[in-house]
Structures are given as C-alpha cells and as structure tokens.
Amino acid sequence: MMGLRSLRTIQTIQPRRSFATAAEPQKVAEKAKKKDKFTIGKDGTITVEFGVNPFRGHKLEPPPAVATTTKEELLNFFKQMTLWRRVEVAADNLYKAKQIRGFLHLYNGQEAIVAGYESVLNKDDHVITAYRCHANFMGRGGTPFEVISELTGKATGCASGKGGSMHMYKRDTNFHGGNGIVGAQVPIGAGAAFGLKYNGKPNVCIAMYGDGAANQGQNFEAFNMAALWKLPVIFVCENNKYGMGTSAERAAANTEYFTRGDAVPGLKIDAMNVLSVKSGFAFAKEWALTKGPILVEAETYRYMGHSMSDPGLAYRTRDEVAAIRAERDPIDKVKLYLLENQLATEEELKEHEKEIKRTVDEAVKKAADAPLPEAKELYTDIYTDMPYYVRHTNIEDSLVVEK
C-alpha cells in the first residue's frame, strides 16, 4: 500500500532543500544563540521561557512562549523518547533481517509529539492516528514486547498478530490505531469526539495525520462537521516535511497547515521540542474542551525514509537530514536541558540508555520465542456470530471446524 506508492514516487527528483534550517545554517546558529531561559523554583517546578517563540496562531491568540516542567518529567521524557527510538532501531534491524514482513514506517525524529501530548492527556482521552503508530501505541501504555510481537506477526502482539506495523490498538487506554488509508482516520476521530461530547465526558480525541494526508478531501469534511458541532477534537497535522517522496512545497499550494482548517482555529508548534509540544497541547486540550475543534500543526522531521522501501535520500540531501539531527533532535534537546541545568549527569543518562537497550533487546528475544497466531485467527473477528465464515473458503475442509 504505502510502501508501493513510495516506490513509485521516488523517481529521480532533484534533491531539494526545503527545510529552512538546512538551507540557512547561519540563521540556525543565530536562533541557537537565543537560548531558552530556565528558572528552577524552590518546589522543584521549572519554568522555561523559550528564546524563540515556538507558536503561531490562526484565528486564535497563541499561548505565551513558556513551559513548566519538573526534573522528573524531563527525565521521563528522555527515557520515553529514547525507548521509542530504540524500538524503531530494533524494528529497522528486524526488517532488514527479514523478520518483519510487509510494511514498516518508523517514527525516528518525531518522538517529541507523542511525549508532549501524552504529558497532557489522560487515559480516558482518545487517540487515533495513521500508519506510523508504534510510538503512539507505546505512549498510550503499550510495551515494546507487544510492538515487536505485532511487527513479527506473533500471537502476543497488540492485535494478536493480525494487524502488523500499521495497526496497533489499545482498548483500555482508547488508542484507536493504526489506520492504513491516508487520511481515513480523521473523520473517525471526529466521530469519536462526538461520542465523548454526547456522553458528557471531560475528554478530547486527538486525530493525527501527516502533511501528505493534509491534502485529502475527507479531512475538510471532518473539519467542517467538527466546527459545526463544536466537537472536542484536536486535529494534529504532523508536518514532517515530506508526504512519502514529495516535499510539502511540491504537494500543497498552502503549506501553512495550521491555517487549513478554515473555520477551525489553528496552532503551529515547534514539535522538535517536547516542552513546546507540552505547552501547546495543554492549550489545545483546554481549547477543545471549552470552545471546540482546534488544528495543531506539529512541525517536525522524519529521519528515516517514508517506509522501508524508501531510503529517504532520493528527494532530500544527506546534509539536510544530518543538520536537523545535529541541531534539533528532540532527545538531544531534553538531554541538553538536563545537563546544562545540572538536573542529571552524563553517566546517569548513559545508564538509562543502557537499561533501555537491555529492555528492547529482551523484548526482541522474547518476541522471537513467542508463538505464531493459531490458524483459526485467519477466520476469527470478522463477524461475531459466524467466526469461521470466509467467502470462498471451504469450511468443511479447514482445520478449524468448531461450529
């Protein structure tokens, strides 16, 4: 599906520098000089004033360029994001070792979005996203073992091995997956938000899509309904700059994605910094609960190719990717915050990294030993009352006649 498409689209497009930071390294250096200001209160509360304003608004007044956090939270961000990246690295290796078949889309570089919104949401809030969903699943409480099991098609996977990379779900924390069709999850998110509002719940639904999906027609149908009925939904456009192999500028006449909700107010967030994501989503959740839908554009960057069949370098330069990694990596950013403000030592963080690597290695090992799904899983969960009904499959001859 997606992978095939990307094969088609990666032609001999001239590498194009579309990312401002890559094109203008001096400006980046200047920006870097405008340092974020840390104030640590007596109770341990840390206030961060951003040197560069990470927010822009559309039909709304953006929140102040400030975030609050604690040492524990920063450390937790570091650990979460490192874990998620480690899982993606493991998945990458497993794919190359042919242990994962089918399609695989990795989240490397975009981790601050999930870490940021999860610090604001609770488990009664709902999340629905597209096919790049491993970190979102783990953010909702899923484990690396469940992810790796699902990727390798084992019965212990988070969808019993029936979904694979693109379809991770978690019922108890309202994670709706994991959707394979570009943009199809957006109206579903609006419907889920309607359910929350109808039942009087103090919760929101986050409906995520990419800059590529931003050009799908059904988004606008969903925006319109959400605005009309004031649904508590946060539409999140993860702008990672490339829809498969096509840069945002080549695909969209208007790349200011946060303005494209029309009547839905928008907020653009620098999503390479988990603290600005946290502040932005705190604002967005409050907005969605009191005023109705809001469209968040999370400006981010994807380090890997679109999927495993895309090396990710046919349409952008190695330098561009390297520059973003060096200047704006979300994990490094938190690391820097911790070290510069003497909230953690280099050794401590190394120890955490080692621990995380051990956890993921164990998960990979455990998943390798896990059983395959039973044969009957082919048939089950299609209908409730006819578990073994499949068109053109001769049930009489099959392994699993239980009726």
Binding site: S160, I188, A190, G195, Y198, Q218, E221, M225, T384, D385
Partner: protein, 433 residues
C-alpha cells in the same frame, strides 16, 4: 385548494390528460391527494396509481412553466431534484386505518407502507436503545423519502440530526461514533451517493474488528440507503450497488422486499453486532403496503425465505425485484401450466445458499434476477455456488435476468429493466430446454 373526488380509478388517465393540456396544476395536486386518500389498495390498483403519479410527476418535470410548490428539503443538490410524489407528506390517518387487524402469529397489525415501516423500526430502535443515534443528510426533517419523519421531535435533536452533504465524512464519523459503543444509524440519501464513502465502509468499518484483534469494533453501525429503479431516476438515483459490498468480508448486506420485512430486518440489522448495509427499495417506499405488526420484532439475518412453493423452476431475487418476479411467475403459471418456487434472499452477505440449493435439487432449474448489471453481479456468485453443490441436479443452464452492462439509463430505463416479460421469457426457455 380545489380538489377532485375520484371514485373510479379508470377515469383518471383521461382526466390527467385533460388537466395536463390546460395546465391546471392545482387540480393535479388535488388528484394526487385524492389518490392518497382513496381506499383503492389492491395490488393492481396500486400499480395503476404508481404509474399515474409517475406520469404526473414526469409531466411536471418536463414543463418549465409549471411551478412546483417549495419542498422542504434543505441543501438540495445533484442533477435530479426530488419532486416525485414519493416525497409528499403521509396523509393523516383516517378512522379506517385505526382499526387494527391481527396477523397469522396473532400480533396486532396496522396497514403500513414501507417508509412508515422503516420509520417505526427506527423509532423502536431509538426508544429501546439509549445509545442509538440517527443521522444523515436532511434526516432531521424527515429525509427525502420521509423515513425519519417525526423522529427528531420524539427523540431529540441530539439523537436525530442532519449532517453536511459529505458521504465520506458521514461514514467516517459514523464509524468513530460506533467505535465508541454507540448504535449508529447513518443514512446515505441515495445508494448512488455511497461511493464517496466506499473507502470508509470497505477499509475501515469492515476491518475494524479484525485488524485490532477484536479490541475495537463498529458492530453498532448500520448504513441505510435507498437503492434501485424508480421509473425516472436516471444514472445517479437508480443504481443497485449491493455486489460491491458483498465482496467485503466483515459487512452484512440486507435488502427487504416489503413493509413487514423492512421493519423486522431493519431492527435486526440495527441490533446486529456487525456493520450492516441496509438497502431499501425506494420504488416500494409508498407503493408497498401491508399489515405490519405494531410491536417490536426482528427477522433473522442470513436466512433466505421460500415465499412461494413450486415444482418446476426455482427463481431467486431480493428487494423490489420480487414483485417483478411475482408477475412473471403469474404469467408463467397461467400460460405454461407450471409452478415456480420463489426465494427471497433477504441477506446478500452472508448468502444463505443452502435454501437455494435445497430448492434447486427439487426443481432442477434456476433463474436469478436483479436490477444491477450482469457482469460481476450477485447472480453470478449464486449461480456458481449452486453449481458447486448441485451440479448433477441441474437440468438446464442457470439463467440470469439482470440489468444490462450499461450505466443506468434515463430514457431507456424500461428497456434496461429486467421486467416481468424478460423473466417470463427466461422461465419459458428454462422449461423448454
């Protein structure tokens, strides 16, 4: 409004002709309401009345000089404006209507047409299930075919509401609500408009349970859509899209043939824990009238019904096509001196092929008829499934009488339509084989 009292149905065509020539639009209105109020309700009379109103509305559509009174439809669109008499308000019940009868099972019944039966089913669903919601284009005002008349007033504007005109969005929204545990009844105004929602239905609704390993499902979801020919609908208000959805494991597809069936099958569909596509024969909304049980009842999904017993040929159909087949059978039985077994499939996915096979083993001959085009139509699937299981019982090649492999035509509708004569001819060929 001046009105004309009609006491002789035979006199009507001449009267219409006269009124038409003198452009007495208001008198035509009078005739329409008189027909509605008349008590002539035998099947033959109904057909006459139907043809009559079709004639009137066609004439009105053709005449630009005739001004239609405004119809209460917001957001009207598409090339076809709904000016058919199908769209008019139900006449107020008369004293005669209030007299209750009793059906074979001893249930109190009332004379009810198909759209009112659908209305009753949704009314019951909303009343018995606090999580049930009904939405779609213009449903709050009753919908273009009046199926949801009065339901907003009765169950509240938060449960029965209008959506924008965006089928893909409606379907996605419905799936999201259903995934929250709601019973979602989504109306797609015409089955022809369901195609923008095709991806949502096929890729999201049908696979929700499977791909999440049964963590999530949208079992509470029912899509209702009027399908099929209506005499003058043209390309985009006449199609029968059932075969597309029958190609999708995870969905159920249901088509009722009459008011009694519509009420029972719709209630069963709404309460079925799987997503259901419920296709309503719009031809029959007003013209099909039966004694319908007043109470809450369900007709099981996945079971075909032998609605007429016979010896010489098995005839399979569903929805409005069964009326056509009844006519063909009548002709065949009169002229050929044979008896036919007529089967209503009712649920098209999953197919109850057992019932068909059992009958074919008795008769040795099979005819399948549907309005949709022949190639890729469901008749092919049924024919194949039957020959797999009853090959040596077949005494003639299986016949398919269907629409042609063309877009649904406007002026050639009568030509396209798999009518009683075409079916009669096919029966004759089967018998003489």
């Amino acid at each position: 409004m001046p009105s004309v009292i009609i006491d002789n149905i035979e006199a009507v065509p001449g009267l219409i002709q006269r009124l038409y020539t003198i452009s007495e639009r208001h008198l035509l209105d009078g005739i329409l309401s008189s027909i509605d109020n008349s008590v002539m309700r035998t099947k033959r009379q109904l057909i006459t009345i139907y043809k009559l109103v079709a004639l009137i509305s066609e004439n009105l559509l053709c005449r630009q000089t005739v001004k239609r009174p405004p119809i209460k439809i917001q957001g009207q669109r598409r090339a076809f404006s709904i000016t058919s008499p199908l769209n008019q308000e139900l006449r107020p019940p008369t004293e005669k209507d209030e007299e209750l009868s009793v059906d074979a099972l001893g249930r109190p019944t009332k004379k009810t047409n198909l759209y009112t039966a659908i209305n009753q089913a949704m009314d019951i669903a909303l009343a018995t299930d606090p999580k049930a919601l009904l939405f779609g284009e213009d449903v709050a005002f009753g919908g273009v075919f009046r199926c949801s008349t009065g339901l907003r007033e009765k169950h509240g504007a938060d449960r029965v509401f209008n959506t924008p005109l965006c089928e893909q969005g409606i379907a996605g929204f419905a799936i999201g609500v259903a995934a929250q545990g709601h019973t979602a009844i989504a109306e797609i105004q015409f089955a022809d408009y369901i195609f923008p929602a095709f991806d949502q239905i096929v890729n999201e609704a049908a696979k929700y349970r499977y791909r999440s390993g049964n963590q999530f499902d949208v079992g509470g979801l029912t899509f209702r859509a009027p399908y099929g020919a209506v005499g003058h609908g043209g390309l985009y208000h006449s199609q029968s899209p059932e075969a597309y959805f029958c190609h999708t494991p995870g969905l159920k597809v249901v088509v009722p043939r009459s008011p009694v069936q519509a009420k029972g099958l719709l209630l069963a569909s709404i309460r079925d824990p799987n997503p259901v596509i419920f296709l309503e024969p719009k031809w029959l909304y007003r013209s099909s009238i039966e004694e319908v049980p007043i109470e809450d009842y369900e007709i099981p999904l996945g079971e075909a019904e032998v609605i007429r017993n016979g010896e010489h040929v098995t005839i399979v159909g569903w929805g409005a096509q069964l009326l056509v087949l009844e006519q063909a059978i009548q002709m065949a039985e009169e002229k050929l001196g044979i008896t036919c077994e007529l089967i209503d499939m009712k649920t098209l996915l999953p197919l109850d092929i057992d019932t068909v096979v059992k009958s074919v083993k008795k008769t040795g001959k099979l005819l399948i008829s549907h309005e949709a085009p022949k190639t890729g139509g469901l008749a092919g699937e049924i024919a194949c499934a039957v020959q797999e299981r009853a090959f040596l019982h077949l005494e003639a090649p299986i016949k398919r009488v269907t629409g042609y492999d063309t877009p649904f035509p406007l002026v050639f509708e009568r030509f396209y339509f798999p009518d009683a004569l075409k079916n009669y001819e096919a029966i004759k060929e089967l018998i003489e084989y």
